[in-house]
């Protein structure tokens, strides 16, 4: 057993020191009836590295990777090119196999990159303070709603119809315990009227921009409408690369920003692990969930970093904590920070522009197809088209022809007949003209 260093001689010597006759004696507090024999477990026995690799590779080869075909899926997870340096650096032992930095003297590596991460997120979102990450964008959104409920002492949350349906469901599951969750109308291609839904019982309004259909929203008027009634605006961003080109939510009056950071540094990974970004105003600092890294000095006056304001957290406040969260996204957070450091201001700006240019080119090509209508007038790298027939079967048919054409809206909203014919497509810097040609040809053939 290659991972287990103890030998039979070692075990004998250790039992002798302990004064136990055998290993069973160490389990004597376990009721006899609860001790299961090995044969009770219908599972295979140990295998060598080669065999395991073979098994896993077979499973992997039965999936169509995004890079293996013309690929246009977005809807909350985006394929971007991650520079090789990122994956190499996060696999350094000291990053990969270290623990939460509870002993700051021997964890300055982790703490310093968390401080850099918090600074980057605050700048990107245009907010005053950011935490050291949550699990992902959807749980970050739920935490934002809970935070707004605590701050305003109200229960109602208005969830825009443009909010990713998985995010809305997550919020309803978790925050719905503490107040009514009201969903706005689903209006692909236009912004619904949310102001009419806000009243004196509203804790927050949750708006995603660009929304799940790709539409870029102006948050300013919603922020004003919310603030006028004493409610908070929570801005959700599922594609952070968009912040390289668009006005940040902080500049538009957002009180809390909950975002998905997967696009920067992290692969698609079939849905996880991802990284939740969370930022807010200074005045709400003590209500913010999650870890926080702060600057300080050591006994010799040298600058250093520590986890701080821990009294908000579960291990101290227990049932009065701002959240039950214990882990953050650790390595995914590091990947984000490193990738963003490689991009820098100029790199992120260019990357964002390229994404928008690609999406425009794709939209223009698709608009020439008979029966196809582009619904999104303003978008970043993702938009929605209307097809003459239901999109889901078309996507399946295209997949069997080797084209991954995007996400049918019906996958996210299975009961909404009005979106059956809608297809959500994303184009990033990883898409080529050949990809566009392949998609257009395949669609033309099938429509």
């Amino acid at each position: 057993m290659r991972y287990l260093p103890l030998t039979p001689d070692d075990r004998r010597a250790m039992l002798a020191r302990i004064g136990a006759p055998d290993l069973d004696a160490l389990f004597r507090d376990v009721p006899k009836a609860a001790l299961a024999p090995l044969t009770a477990f219908d599972l295979p026995d140990t295998q060598g590295e080669m065999e395991v690799e073979r098994t896993l590779s077979k499973l992997a080869s039965r999936n169509v990777a995004a890079g293996a075909a013309p690929f246009f899926c977005g809807a909350g997870a985006y394929k971007h090119h991650v520079p090789s340096a990122v994956d190499h650096l996060i696999q350094r032992s000291e990053f990969l196999t270290s623990y939460t930095p509870y002993q700051p003297e021997i964890a300055q590596g982790t703490l310093q990159y968390l401080f850099e991460f918090q600074s980057q997120v605050a700048l990107l979102t245009g907010m005053e303070v950011a935490n050291a990450s949550l699990y992902d964008g959807s749980t970050a959104t739920a935490e934002a709603v809970l935070m707004a409920q605590r701050i305003t002492k109200r229960g109602k949350a208005i969830l825009s119809g443009g909010l990713h349906p998985h995010y809305a469901e997550t919020v309803e599951t978790v925050a719905g315990l503490f107040g009514p969750m009201v969903r706005g109308a689903v209006t692909p291609g236009t912004a619904e009227d949310l102001a009419a839904l806000i009243d004196e019982e509203t804790a927050c309004v949750v708006v995603q921009s660009p929304d799940v259909f790709g539409l870029i929203r102006n948050l300013k008027p919603i922020a004003e409408a919310a603030h006028a009634k004493g409610a908070l605006l929570i801005a959700v961003v599922t594609e952070v690369v968009s912040l390289g080109l668009l006005e940040p939510p902080g500049a538009q009056g957002a009180d809390i920003v909950a975002a998905e950071g997967q696009s920067v540094g992290n692969g698609l990974n079939f849905g996880g692990p991802y990284v939740g970004l969370f930022a807010t105003r200074e005045k709400f600092l003590r209500q913010m969930p999650g870890r926080l890294c702060g600057e300080t000095v050591d006994a010799e006056g040298r600058r250093g970093y520590v986890l701080t304001l821990s009294t908000r957290e579960q291990h101290i406040r227990r049932e009065k904590a701002t959240s039950n969260i214990c882990t953050n996204s650790g390595l995914c957070t590091l990947a984000f920070t490193i990738h963003l450091s490689l991009l820098g201001e100029e790199g992120l700006t260019r990357l964002a522009r390229i994404n928008h240019a690609k999406a425009r080119a794709l939209a223009d090509r698709l608009a020439t197809l008979p029966g196809v209508k582009v619904l999104t007038p303003a978008f970043f790298n993702e938009f929605t088209i209307e097809l003459p027939r239901p999109a889901a079967p078309l996507v399946e048919a295209l997949a069997s022809k080797g084209v991954i054409a995007g996400v049918p809206a019906s996958r996210l909203l299975p009961h909404d007949k009005s979106v059956q014919n809608l297809l959500i497509l994303a184009a990033t810097e990883t898409n080529t003209d050949d990809d566009f040609a392949a998609l257009t040809a395949a669609l033309k053939e099938i429509l």
């Binding site: 003590r286 701080t308 821990s310 009294t311 101290i316 406040r317 009065k320």
Partner: protein, 124 residues
């Protein structure tokens, strides 16, 4: 003529005429370690004897402060917002938490005086 009493939860309460001032004792402040933040009650808040009135935080712990007697909070020591260290420097003076009006003087009278509290701390 002011009169100070103590609870077995290490709060002190000093009565000056109609108004009483509440804080934590030197023993409590020392056990807590460096105070980094204090959450004070709002003016007008009703409190009950032994009920939660404030929260004091050190780096590693958050402790509830209980009202020694029932009544209404009249003001809080906002200086603690900028300088929570006052609680460590002068817990029984400038590090006071809040002032209140007591509803039932009987509750005040039941509390330990300085000598009794001193004996109580020794027994811990």
């Amino acid at each position: 003529m002011s009169e100070t009493r103590y609870t077995d939860q290490h709060e002190w309460i000093r009565l000056d005429g109609e108004e009483a001032t509440v804080g934590i004792t030197k023993y409590a402040a020392e056990s807590l370690g460096d105070v980094v933040f204090v959450e004070l009650p709002a003016s007008g808040k009703a409190v009950t004897a032994g009920g939660e009135a404030a929260v004091v935080e050190s780096v590693k712990a958050a402790s509830d402060i209980y009202a020694p007697a029932g009544g209404t909070v009249t003001s809080a020591n906002s200086a603690l917002e900028k300088e929570p260290s006052k609680v460590n420097e002068d817990p029984e003076g400038a590090g006071w938490f809040f002032k209140m009006k007591i509803n039932d003087m009987g509750e005040f009278a039941k509390l330990m005086d300085a000598t009794a509290y001193g004996k109580f701390v020794e027994s811990l």
